[in-house]
C-alpha cells in the first residue's frame, strides 16, 4: 500500500495541493457568505413569523406571559385576559413547539432585557412527548442565526444529530444551505422576508385565534403516553430559569374535547405526576382538561379535539384570567 503511494506521489501531490487550495478558497467564501447571511437574518426579521416577532421585543415589561405550543398560541386571547386582570401580557406560544424551543425563546426574550413578572406554562400530552406527536418539534431554522449563543447551542445539541452540529460548527454556511427555502438569496437581494400572512401579532399580543366554527374530528386511536426525557428536562429548565429570574410560575393544562380524552392512555397519570412535582415546588397548577369541566363538552367551542375555536377561546381566557388573578404578582 505504501509502495503504491510512492508510485504516484508526484501526481497525487499535485492533485492534493490543487484541491487543497481550491477547498480553502471555497471554505473562506462560505464563511464570508455565512457572516453575510447571519447579519442579514439578524437585521431583517420576518415579523409574521411568531418566533421572530417574539425575539424582536426589547426592554419591555410584562405582567404576565403565556408559554407553550399551539394550545397557547391559538387558545389564549391575551386581550381578554388583559382586560380582565388589567395587566399587560404577551403570548409566547409557538405552533408545534416542544419545551426546548419554548426554553430557547424564553431565554432569548429575557436576554433582550425584557421583564416578565408571571409566567404561565401550559402542559399537555403533546409537549410532554413532542417527538412522538409533533411532526417537527424543534423549528431549528428559526434560530440557526443565534448559534453563537451558548444556551441556543445547548438546545441545538439536545435536538439535532451530532454530525449536523459538527458541520454547523466547522462549516457554518451549511445551516443556511439546508434551509435554503427559508433563507433564499433571492429574498435577501430583494430586500427582506416578506409577510405572506395577515397575522397581526402586535394587535393580538401574540395570539392567533381560530375563527372557523366547524369541528374537525378524525378517527381516534388509543395512544399510550409517556414522558419524553428531553421534554421533561426542558420543562425543568424553564422552571429553573423562571425561578432564577424571580418570575412567578403558574401551570395549567387547557381543555381537551371530552370524548377524545379516554383514548389518551396514561395521560391523567402523567398530569397527576406533574401536579405533585409542582406542588413540591410550591407552584400552582390548574387542570382544565377534566372531562366533567363544561369547557370540554361542547363541540361548538372546539375546532378539533385538541384546539378551541374563537368561541371556546373567549370562554377559556375568561376562566383562566379568573383562576390566575389572585396568584399574579
Amino acid at each position: 500500500m505504501i509502495q503504491n503511494l510512492f508510485i504516484f506521489s508526484f501526481k497525487v501531490k499535485l492533485f492534493i495541493i490543487k484541491i487543497s487550495i481550491f477547498s480553502v478558497i471555497i471554505l473562506l467564501s462560505l464563511t464570508v457568505l455565512d457572516n453575510f447571511y447571519t447579519k442579514y437574518v439578524f437585521s431583517h426579521k420576518n415579523l409574521c413569523e411568531k418566533s421572530d416577532w417574539i425575539l424582536n421585543h426589547h426592554d419591555e415589561n410584562f405582567d404576565f406571559a403565556f408559554i407553550g405550543n399551539s394550545r397557547v398560541l391559538h387558545m389564549i386571547d391575551i386581550n381578554v385576559i388583559e382586560k380582565k386582570t388589567r395587566r399587560k401580557g404577551i403570548n409566547l406560544g409557538l405552533r408545534g413547539a416542544n419545551f426546548s424551543e419554548n426554553y430557547l425563546v424564553l431565554d432569548q426574550f429575557l436576554k433582550s432585557s425584557n421583564k416578565i413578572k408571571n409566567l404561565i406554562v401550559e402542559v399537555n400530552m403533546h409537549n410532554l412527548n413532542a417527538d412522538k406527536q409533533l411532526e417537527y418539534p424543534f423549528h431549528d431554522y428559526n434560530y440557526i442565526h443565534l448559534l453563537k449563543d451558548s444556551i441556543t447551542r445547548e438546545v441545538f445539541y439536545d435536538n439535532e444529530p451530532n454530525y449536523k452540529m459538527f458541520l454547523w460548527k466547522y462549516l457554518p454556511f451549511v445551516r443556511y444551505m439546508e434551509f435554503s427555502n427559508h433563507f433564499s438569496l433571492y429574498k435577501i437581494l430583494k430586500g427582506g422576508f416578506e409577510c405572506k400572512t395577515s397575522d397581526d401579532f402586535d394587535a393580538s399580543k401574540g395570539s392567533k385565534i381560530f375563527n372557523e366554527k366547524v369541528f374537525k374530528t378524525e378517527k381516534q386511536n388509543y395512544v399510550y403516553w409517556t414522558f419524553n426525557e428531553n421534554d421533561k428536562n426542558y420543562l425543568n429548565k424553564i422552571i429553573d430559569l423562571a425561578m432564577n429570574k424571580n418570575i412567578n410560575l403558574i401551570f395549567y393544562t387547557g381543555p381537551i374535547y371530552y370524548k377524545y380524552l379516554p383514548f389518551q392512555l396514561n395521560y391523567t397519570k402523567m398530569i397527576g405526576e406533574i401536579k405533585n412535582n409542582l406542588r413540591n415546588k410550591n407552584i400552582s397548577f390548574f387542570d382544565f382538561s377534566n372531562p366533567q369541566n363544561n369547557l370540554c363538552r361542547d363541540t361548538a367551542d372546539f375546532s378539533d379535539n385538541f384546539h378551541m375555536n374563537i368561541s371556546g377561546v373567549a370562554k377559556l381566557s375568561l376562566v383562566v384570567a379568573d383562576s390566575i388573578l389572585q396568584l399574579l404578582k
Partner: protein, 482 residues
Amino acid sequence: MLFNSLTFLVFFVVVTGMYFLLPHRYRWFLLLLASCFFYMFFKPVYILILFGTIVIDYYAGIKLEEIQDEKKKKFFLILSLIANIGVLVVFKYFNFINENISQVLVHVGVQNPIPFLKILLPIGLSFHTFQAMSYTIEVYRGNQKAERHFGIYALYVMFYPQLVAGPIERPQNIIHQFYEPKKFEYNNVSAGLKQMLWGFFKKVVIADRLAIGVDEVYNHLDSYTGIALILATVFFALQIYCDFSGYSDIAIGAAKVMGFTLMANFNRPYASRSISEFWTRWHISLSSWFKDYLYIPLGGNRVKVSRLYFNLFIVFMISGLWHGASWTFIIWGALHGIYLIFALITKNIGVRISDFFKKLKLSFLVNAFNIGFVFALITFAWLFFRAKTTHDAFYVVKHLLDIHSINMAKDIYLNNGQDFFVTSIFVIFFMEVVQYININYRNLLFKYPSAIVRWGFCFSLIIMICVFGVYHNDSEFIYFQF
C-alpha cells in the same frame, strides 16, 4: 445511498482513496465490497435477490460458452432470462397484473382469489436486471466471452456508480476495464470530479428546485388548471432531465475518477428536431438496449411497413412498462410509439416543407419550429409519466387549455412562489448557456487554457450549489423507483 447525501461524499472519498492505495489485484474486491455496502444502504435484504440472479447468470454465461448444441444454448439463455424477468415480474409487476385481474373479475362479479404481495420494489431493479440480461444475450450471440471470475462478474452487475440508475452498460464496454490496472491520472480525476460537480448542480439546484413547484401542482391537481398545469408540466420536463442526466453525470464522473469509462446517457435531448432523434439523445443506454435486444430481433426496419409500425409501438409500450407498473407509464410509452409512427407516415410531407424553406435560406426557422414542436410533444407525454394515476393524467389533459387560470398561475409562480420561479428561470438559463458552450466548444468551460476561468467556473458551480441548492431528506432521484 443517495448521491446527493453527505454519506455518499464520505463514502466516495474513502472508496476512491482506498482504490488508489490498494494494489491492482485487490481492487475488484474493494469495489465489490463498496458496491454491496452502497446497495445495502437502501434495504440490506434485497442484496440476496441480486446475488441470486448474479449466480444464475454467471453459470448460464459459462454454460452458454461451453455448450455447442444450439438447443441447449437456447435453454440456458431462456433460463437466465426467465430468472431475471421473473424477479422483475414478482417484485415490480405482480401487484399491477393482479390489480388488473381484480378489476376485470369485478365486472363479471367474481372476487379475485390471488392475494397481493406486500413487498417493496428493490431499488434500481430494472437497471441491473437489464444489465445482467445484456451479458447473457451477448455471450449467447458470441460477442462476449463468458466471465470466469465470479467477483468480476458480480462487479459488472453491481459496480456502484451505475448500480441503481444506470447507464445500463454492455459487458464488452466494462468487464475488460476491471482487469486493466488503473493509475492515478490527474486528467481523469479532474474531469471526473468536474462531471460530478455538473451532475450535482443539475440535481440539487435545478431538479430539486423545480420539484417544489411541480409537486405542489401535481399533488393538488384539483386546485389547478390551465397555465399552472402547463408550467408545471414544462417544469417537470426540465426536472426529469436534470434529475436523471444529473445522476448519470455523477455516475459517469465517479467512475471516471477511478479510471473507468461508462457510456454517455444524455446528449441535450431537448434540442432534438424529431422524436427519433430524441431517442438517440435521451437515456441512450436504455434506448440502445431496446434497439439491440428487442427492436432488431423483432425485425427492425427490414420488415413490411405495417410490421414496422407494430414493432415500434410494441417496443415503446414495453419501454413505458419498464419504467413502472402503471397504465400511466404504458400510455407514456405508447404515445412515443404513436409519435414515431406518425412521423414515419408524414415523412415525405416533412421533407418537402423542409426543402421549401431551405430554398428560401430559412432552414433555421424549420429547425426552431421542429425543436419547439418536438419539445411540446415530449412534454405532453411527460404529463402521463408524472401523474400518479390515469385519472390524474386525463384531468391534466382536460384542463390544460383552460385559459381562465392566469391568476392561479400567477399566484403559485409569481406571488407566493416568486422566489422559486425567478431562481428556477435563472438556473435553467445558466444551465442552457453552459451546455451550449460546452457542447459546441469542446467542454470549453471545464478545459479553458486559463486556470482562472476553469477554477472560476467550478467555484461558481459550487457556490451556486450551496446557495441555490435544495436539500430535503426525501429528494431521491426520480429514476431510483425504476
